[in-house]
Amino acid sequence: MSSRIACHECDLLQIIPALPEKASARCVRCGAVLYRRKPNSINRTLAWTFTGLIFFVLANCLPFLAMKSGGFVQETKLVTGIIQLFKQGLPGVSALVMLTCVIFPLLDMAGTLYVLLPLKLNRAPRGAPRVFRLIQHIRLWGMVEIFMLGILVALVKLAKMAEIIPGLALYSFIALMFAIAAAANNLDSHLIWEKLGRKI
């Protein structure tokens, strides 16, 4: 599978040779990664995306964190903070957190399934190029792993003030983070585009 490609960072034309599995091709001029071959890409991406969806549901439904302070117990869900921000007159920030940590990751996973499942069965779903293009843009704005770091920092901050009880949603969220990372790591978009290109 050798093809001509222009480097997206310096525009140099070059030919990508047939690569062995897991190898990557870099631009000879600027060093940008042009293409990385991923073995068994579609199956692995699908498996991780399904896993991710399950943990996504769990992370959003189960209790997330609870705070115990002087006889009071304050229990929260994942979206509690987002709703609070909205109530306190910061709808923009609230929407941003909602998009980057809930909606975009969900759309990313749903879109991936929509495109990849039919491709596995050698069919191209309606509007697949548009969907795949959209999720490529959206992926940049999914920030589940950064939210995880935020949780860690918040827990350290509160540790001296009150007792924090982690809920099952927290563990689901950690699993979701790994599933999303693994799905992205196994997705070979070059291959998907090539398959989609042949179907048109």
């Binding site: 929260t76 921000l85 941003l96 957190v97 190029p129 770091l149 935020g150 918040a154 585009w193």
Partner: protein, 203 residues
Amino acid sequence: MNPTSLTARKANLVSCHVCHLLSRAATTHCPRCGSSLHQRKVNSIARTWALLIAACICYIPANVLPMTISSTLGSKQTDTIMSGVIYFIHSGSWEIALVIFIASIFVPLIKMFILAFLLISIHFRIRWKPRDRTRLYRLTEAVGRWSMVDVYVVTILVGLVHLGALANVDAGPAAFYFAAVVVITMFAAESFDPRLIWDVMEQ
């Protein structure tokens, strides 16, 4: 690899920025993925400057205004980003202090400096180390999103510490400006076209 020492533009081709398919230069939309085609990102320099200036303006209230307003049993305390860092140093968790300092103060600042430097270097057609300048761009692109961590910390605190008179945390106005800095600098990095660095080398 087979270098042809020819750019797509010189070969009269245009590369799709979404799916990387090469098309003839006059094509307006990519035949494979449907996105609109341009030799270079449209208005890259002007757009990046505008976003960069907007981010610089938001950076000031983001650091001066309070990020959180916490009240415990009647006593009120406002925290800026920097006072949050200092709090963590005093309470002995210097790793967390370092994380917040790097993500919230250092990264946005260095990102704005690097983008300004790249824009200026293109304006004056500087031919100095294009490979390293491309690498700098790649760095700003990869690292910028991590600044969002402080916005998330506020979100979690606000949701969790909500016990009325006993203990309460409210988000301050800086949360808005800080989120704006992160989003705007991410858009700025996206609108910058690193190929402009190399176009100077071609001439």
